[in-house]
C-alpha cells in the first residue's frame, strides 16, 4: 500500500501553506517550553522579563524544604500507584484479550471510563467516596487516599497499553509453547510475558507520568503533610508567580522529557505507539 500522498503531493500554494502550518504548529508547541527554560535563568523577579543570567532560582529550589518534601511525596505516590496498577492492569489486559468470562463486556466498559472521564468529575467522585468511607472507617486523607485514587485511573491506562501489545501478538505462539510441552505457567513465563514486556514497561512509564502530573484529583483527596509537587506548584501559581516556579517547572519538564526518552528507548517496537494511543485520553495531568 502506498501511504497517502506518498505519490499525490499537493502542489503550489497548498503545499506551501501545509508546510508553513506545520512549522507554525511546532513553533507553537516548543516556543513556550523554550522561553520557560530561558527565563528560569533570568535574574529579574518579574518572570517574563530578562534580567541577566542567574542560577539563584535553582539554588532556591534545592534549598526549599516545601518543594523537596512535595517532590518526595510525588515520587512515593507515583511509585506505589505504578506498581499496583501495572500488576492489576496487566492481569486485566490478559483476561480481556485471551479469555471470555461472565461480565467481560461490563468490565471492558468500566475499564474504559477512567480514561475518558473529565478529571474534575473523578476528583469529585473520590472526594465524596473518601468522605463517606472516612465517616465509616475513620481514617485521615493522605498517602493512602491519593495512591488509591491514582491507581483507579492508572489501571485503565496500563491495560490499554498492554492490550494493544497483546492484540499485536500472534496467539499461536502460546499454542506453540503448549504444543512444545510447556505448562500454562511456563508458556506465560517464557513466551507471553517476554513478548508483552515492552507494553508493560510502556504502561508503567505512562502510569508513573500520569501520577506525577495529576493536580485536580490529588488536590481533592490529599491530606495534611501530603502535598504533591504539582499541587504545591499550582498553589504557588495561584498566589502569584515567582521565578522559583520557573525553576521547579523546568525540573518537572526535564523529568517528563526523561520519561519520554525512556519510553521511546524501551519500546522502539510498537509499544511506543501503544503508549501514545493510550495517552490519547483526556486524563493527562489535567485541566
Amino acid at each position: 500500500m502506498t501511504a497517502v500522498g506518498g505519490v499525490t503531493q499537493p502542489r503550489g500554494a497548498t503545499r506551501w501553506l501545509l508546510r508553513a502550518n506545520t512549522w507554525l504548529v511546532y513553533g507553537f508547541f516548543y516556543a513556550p517550553i523554550v522561553l520557560l527554560v530561558v527565563f528560569s535563568f533570568s535574574g529579574n523577579r518579574n518572570v517574563g522579563v530578562w534580567g541577566g543570567f542567574t542560577l539563584d532560582w535553582y539554588r532556591d529550589f534545592a534549598s526549599d524544604g516545601n518543594v523537596q518534601g512535595a517532590l518526595r511525596n510525588s515520587i512515593q505516590i507515583a511509585v506505589a500507584s505504578t506498581v499496583v496498577s501495572v500488576v492489576l492492569g496487566t492481569a486485566a489486559a490478559l483476561a480481556l484479550e485471551r479469555f471470555t468470562f461472565r461480565g467481560r463486556q461490563v468490565f471492558d466498559a468500566l475499564l474504559y471510563l477512567p480514561i475518558i472521564i473529565p478529571d474534575v468529575t473523578m476528583a469529585v467522585m473520590m472526594l465524596l467516596f473518601f468522605a463517606q468511607a472516612a465517616e465509616l472507617l475513620g481514617f485521615s486523607k493522605g498517602f493512602g487516599t491519593i495512591t488509591l485514587s491514582h491507581i483507579a485511573f492508572n489501571i485503565s491506562f496500563v491495560s490499554v497499553v498492554v492490550r494493544a501489545r497483546l492484540a499485536g501478538m500472534d496467539d499461536r505462539l502460546e499454542e506453540a509453547a503448549r504444543d512444545l510441552y510447556a505448562t500454562r505457567w511456563q508458556a506465560f513465563r517464557h513466551v507471553t510475558l517476554p513478548l508483552i514486556m515492552p507494553g508493560v514497561a510502556g504502561g508503567a512509564l505512562l502510569a508513573f507520568t500520569l501520577s506525577l502530573d495529576d493536580v485536580v484529583i490529588t488536590q481533592f483527596v490529599t491530606g495534611p503533610g501530603w502535598t504533591t509537587l504539582p499541587v504545591y506548584v499550582f498553589g504557588l501559581i495561584r498566589k502569584g508567580v515567582t521565578p522559583l516556579i520557573n525553576a521547579v517547572s523546568v525540573v518537572m519538564l526535564l523529568a517528563s522529557m526523561a520519561l519520554v526518552a525512556l519510553s521511546l528507548a524501551t519500546q522502539r517496537v510498537r509499544g511506543g505507539q501503544d503508549a501514545i494511543d493510550a495517552r490519547v485520553g483526556p486524563d493527562q495531568g489535567l485541566p
Binding site: 502506498t2 506545520t22 475499564l111 473529565p118 520557573n246 518537572m252 490519547v280
Partner: protein, 308 residues
C-alpha cells in the same frame, strides 16, 4: 534434509496415563474452567474499579439528590432535585453556556490547525514521519501544569509577547486573564489529542485512492471533500471528542490563565466543594459533565468508532 536425529539423553515423550475419551460434559467443564481462569485474572482490577470507581460514581449520583444543611454539610436525607433545578438559574446557565462555547471554539481551532498538520505529517517519508511524531509526543508527555504555566510567563505584563508587540509597534498586549488566553491554553494543552487520532487515520488511507480520484477528474479540493475527508472522519470525530470533553471540564487552565469573570464549569464545580461547600449542587454539576461525556462516547461507538 536427510539423516536421522542423534539420540538425546532424554526419553521421547510418552503418554503417561491414558485419559478418558472426550464427552460433552468434559468439554463444557474445560470451557467453564477457562472462563473461571479469565474471571480470576480480571477480578483484582474488576473489584478495584467497582470499589474505587463505580461506587464513587454512584455516591456522586446519590449526593446530587441530597440536601445541603445550614452548616455546609450534606444531609443524606430529604431527597430532592433542587440541585438540578439550579441548572436553570441565569448565573449557572451563563457558566454552562460559556464553558460549552469555549470548548467548541477550542475544538474547532484544534481541528483546523491539526488536520493539515496531520495530513502533512502522513505524507512524509517514514523516517521523517516518525521524527515528527516524536516531536508531537514530547509536549504531549510534558507536565500539563508546566505547559500552562509557560503561557502565564509569555502572556504576562511586560512578558515576551508584550515586548514583541511593543517592539513592532502594535502596543502592549493584555491577553492574560481573558477568555482568549484560556482558549489559547486549552488549544495548547489538547492539540496533540487532535493530531494523533487524525494522523493515525490519514496515514492508513491508501494514497492510490486520492490518485484515482484525481484520475477521475476531481480537483484537489474535490478529492479532499469527497475522498480524504470522508475516509478520515473517524479520526475527526475521535479527535473532537478527545478535545471537547477535557476542554468542557477544564479547571487548571482557566485557573491559571483565566480571570475572575470567566468562571467555567470545571472551576465552578471545584468551588462548590472547596469553598461554597454545596456538595449536592457540585455533585449534580459533575453528573451533568459526565453525562455529556458518556453521551458523546456512546454516540461515537454507536457510529462505528473503534478506539478513542
Amino acid at each position: 534434509m536427510t539423516g536421522t536425529l542423534p539420540p538425546v539423553d532424554v526419553a521421547p515423550p510418552e503418554v503417561e496415563e491414558d485419559a478418558a475419551p472426550a464427552t460433552p460434559e468434559f468439554e463444557a467443564a474445560s470451557l467453564r474452567q477457562e472462563r473461571r481462569r479469565g474471571l480470576l485474572m480480571a477480578l483484582p482490577a474488576y473489584g478495584y474499579l467497582v470499589l474505587f470507581f463505580a461506587l464513587p460514581l454512584l455516591i456522586v449520583v446519590v449526593y446530587s439528590f441530597a440536601t445541603r444543611n445550614r452548616f455546609g454539610g450534606t444531609d443524606l436525607s430529604g431527597w430532592n432535585i433542587d440541585s438540578y433545578r439550579r441548572l436553570g438559574e441565569p448565573l449557572v446557565r451563563d457558566i454552562l453556556f460559556r464553558s460549552v462555547a469555549l470548548a467548541v471554539i477550542t475544538t474547532v481551532i484544534c481541528l483546523v490547525v491539526a488536520y493539515p498538520f496531520a495530513y502533512y505529517m502522513a505524507t512524509r517519508s517514514e523516517a521523517v514521519r516518525n521524527l515528527m511524531l516524536v516531536f508531537v509526543m514530547i509536549p504531549f508527555w510534558t507536565n500539563f501544569l508546566v505547559r500552562n504555566f509557560a503561557w502565564r510567563v509569555i502572556l504576562g505584563t511586560d512578558g515576551p509577547l508584550s515586548q514583541v508587540t511593543e517592539a513592532v509597534g502594535i502596543g502592549e498586549t493584555r491577553l492574560l486573564f481573558t477568555q482568549t488566553a484560556v482558549v489559547l491554553g486549552l488549544v495548547y494543552g489538547f492539540l496533540p489529542f487532535m493530531v494523533l487520532p487524525l494522523y493515525a487515520d490519514i496515514e492508513r488511507i491508501d494514497g492510490r485512492l486520492l490518485e484515482a480520484s484525481r484520475d477521475l477528474y476531481a480537483t484537489g479540493a474535490q478529492s479532499f471533500r469527497h475522498v480524504l475527508l470522508p475516509l478520515s472522519m473517524p479520526g475527526v470525530i475521535a479527535g473532537s471528542i478527545l478535545v471537547f470533553i477535557p476542554s468542557l471540564g477544564a479547571y487548571v487552565t482557566p485557573e491559571i490563565l483565566g480571570g475572575a469573570k470567566t468562571t467555567l464549569l470545571g472551576g465552578y464545580i471545584v468551588t462548590q466543594f472547596l469553598t461554597a461547600r454545596n456538595w449536592p449542587f457540585g455533585a449534580s454539576l459533575s453528573f451533568v459533565l459526565m453525562a455529556v461525556m458518556l453521551t458523546a462516547t456512546i454516540v461515537y461507538f454507536r457510529k462505528g468508532g473503534r478506539t478513542l
